[in-house]
Amino acid sequence: MSQAETQPVPVEAGRIPAPGEGAADWLPPVDIGETAEGFQVVVELCGVAREDVSVGFHEGRLTVWGERRREGAAETVHYRERRSGRFLRAFRFRTPVEGDRIAASLKQGLLTLTVPKRRPRRIPLEATS
């Protein structure tokens, strides 16, 4: 697997962490940016495999959770600063978003979530003559 490869991550509608999955050992750092079109959420998930990340959107809440496995189980550890174990972050947005159009991808240890804003629906005016 190439390190530069972008891996799409499914965003599951209505999915929330199961009981027991909700407790987190650590909180990955996050940047959130907002544009006129939507929000971009960038989560640091170094060394996390694509199959160890879950993304769910339920009742306006976007949740990212999973597990970061430790490498080198047989090694003798001298010092350790990197976090591992179960992680979880959840977000709400200040304007309504299109929950079923959220895109997620994992690349170089960064999970990027693109969250489009919900557009106000335009009602066509009918001319009465």
Binding site: C46, V77, Q108
Partner: protein, 145 residues
């Protein structure tokens, strides 16, 4: 917002805050740099019977963004962590928790490390350095002639 208490980080943050409180730009710069160099990016150090293993979290960095050098029994990892969003008038930052900017970590290598034999890989935002041990690391029995 951190759930896990880290005495080192708290102390370094307090240290940086004190520097800011003093208002001296030199103190402030030094405090910020000390904080970064001491804790960012996070690093693990371990060993196997054959080699020493150093792992560093470098999210979003490509191999051309990182420089690993070895000199005088020290390993140095340096580079610049990119921001998630380019400074742009159309993007409003709502949260900025990720570390960005220049960084440098220095790792003194143990005496058995063979600095000529280092293997470096960068995958999924993790830099892994494997430093082979010199052959005599395990000790050698000297036969009495």
């Amino acid at each position: 917002m951190r759930l896990i208490w880290s005495p080192t980080r708290d102390l370094l943050q307090l240290h940086a805050r004190l520097g800011r409180a003093l208002g001296d730009p030199l103190v402030r710069r030094w405090a910020r740099r000390t904080q970064r160099e001491a804790t960012m990016p996070p690093l693990d150090f371990s060993e196997t019977p054959e080699c020493f293993v150093i792992r560093v979290d470098l999210p979003g960095l490509r191999k051309d963004d990182v420089e690993v050098t070895v000199a005088g029994g020290q390993l140095q990892i340096a580079g610049e962590a990119p921001a998630s969003n380019e400074p742009d008038a159309t993007v409003e930052s709502l949260r900025l928790e990720r570390f960005r900017g220049p960084f440098r970590r220095i790792v003194p290598l143990p005496r058995q490390a063979n600095s000529a034999e280092i293997r470096a890989t960068l995958e999924r935002g993790v830099l892994t350095l494997e430093v082979l041990k010199t052959l005599s690391a395990g000790g050698r029995r000297i036969e009495i002639g």
